[in-house]
């Protein structure tokens, strides 16, 4: 008897409970999205955000994204120095690692490091190249079928 009543009760309540639970879950996730988990889970700060947060960031290590400014890339004995810009704000970067193959002026990069104490310089020890999902043929008129392009 107890089994039967428990089961039938569970089954009867099921549809209503299903709706309630569904509404709760949708509302909870909607709340999360509306409030924006936003900035906190972000992988990097853009250059302008990093400069705006300069005082609270101090010398903590974080990732900064921006475009490598043309004409600012210099090879040094320790690595590569350059400037990064995003939304009109520019920060000089002192980097101590060998940049990846695709690193070039005009490209978006993410650097890992921290602001140097007392200066506006950013000290980085890792560069990652960020690229978009736009894929444009480099030489659309010079395609030769059969030519080994992977070399």
């Amino acid at each position: 008897m107890a089994v039967a009543s428990a089961r039938s009760r569970g089954r009867l309540e099921h549809p209503r409970r299903l709706w309630v639970v569904g509404v709760i879950i949708v509302a909870a996730i909607g709340f999360l999205l509306a409030k924006g988990l936003g900035s906190s889970i972000n992988y990097f700060e853009t250059v302008n955000q990093a400069v705006a947060l300069r005082s609270s960031l101090g010398t903590t290590t974080f990732r900064m994204e921006g475009v490598v400014v043309r004409g600012t890339v210099h090879q040094t004995s320790r690595g590569t120095d350059f400037s990064m810009r995003s939304h009109g704000v520019t920060v000089p970067v002192v980097n101590t690692s060998s940049p990846p193959q695709l690193f070039a002026p005009g490209r978006a990069v993410v650097v890992v490091g921290h602001f140097a104490r007392g200066t506006d310089k950013f000290l980085s020890n890792e560069i990652m190249v960020k690229h978009s999902a736009n894929y444009v043929a480099a030489h659309p008129n010079r395609v030769k079928p059969g030519a080994n392009g992977s070399s």
Partner: protein, 222 residues
């Protein structure tokens, strides 16, 4: 549903108070994890203070797996599971009761571990409100997800190994959110912890809701 939940929670906590498995085994285990971290990361170089939030929550996570296993182990013998199933209690109530009991144990454990972190790692408790809120939300989330997956694995012969594999990836957001919120709290920027606190609260609500729904079929089938 709520009356059933209170009954089951009371039963689980009474069993725990009499058997003292949590106090005699889970709590020492959690403290041991804290001490082992101190051996692994040289205490003199300041790593421990920086890593304290992460280490604290990893210790809580491991202990939560043990607590969930214990919560279902007490029903493994003497056909207690069948008894529970045939008792006529609302499955959702059983779920909420067991989750509440696990949450209560985790709360005690976190209080002791917090003292451990302060003493052993030299952490300074600032933004106490945020830390407390984080503990509350994370504990409810862990207990809810743990209980839902606990019943999933409870009747299996390989539950000791399978439960961590199933549960730990699911509660990874709790580890992330709680660690970030604690980092913000300990560093004295409580405002930065608020989005993480929201994530933890949503996680807790979602898994409580899912558990209420799924516990019945899972208990019936296992």
């Amino acid at each position: 549903m709520w009356r059933d939940a209170a009954l089951v929670a009371g039963k689980d906590i009474r069993v725990e108070l009499r058997s003292r498995v949590a106090t005699n085994q889970v709590l020492p285990f959690a403290l041991l994890v804290l001490i082992l971290f101190a051996f692994a990361l040289d205490p003199d170089r300041g790593f421990l203070g920086q890593a304290a939030p992460g280490l604290f929550w990893v210790a809580v996570l491991f202990s939560a797996v043990l607590a969930v296993q214990r919560s279902f182990a007490i029903e493994a013998s003497d056909h207690a599971r069948e008894g529970l199933r045939l008792s006529g209690l609302d499955p959702a109530g059983i779920f909420l009761g067991k989750a509440a009991a696990v949450a209560a144990q985790l709360g005690v454990l976190e209080a002791v571990l917090t003292a451990g972190v302060v003493v052993l790692y030299g952490a300074h408790l600032e933004g106490a409100l945020l830390l407390l809120g984080t503990c509350l939300a994370a504990t409810v989330g862990l207990a809810a997800a743990g209980t839902a997956y606990g019943v999933l694995a409870a009747s299996l012969r390989v539950r000791e190994t399978l439960l961590p594999l199933l549960l730990l990836p699911v509660v990874a957001p709790v580890l992330l959110g709680a660690t970030k919120a604690w980092e913000a709290g300990l560093a004295g920027h409580p405002a930065q912890g608020d989005p993480w606190l929201r994530l933890l609260a949503v996680f807790a609500v979602v898994y409580l809701a899912l558990g209420v729904l799924a516990f019945g079929p899972l208990l019936e089938e296992s």
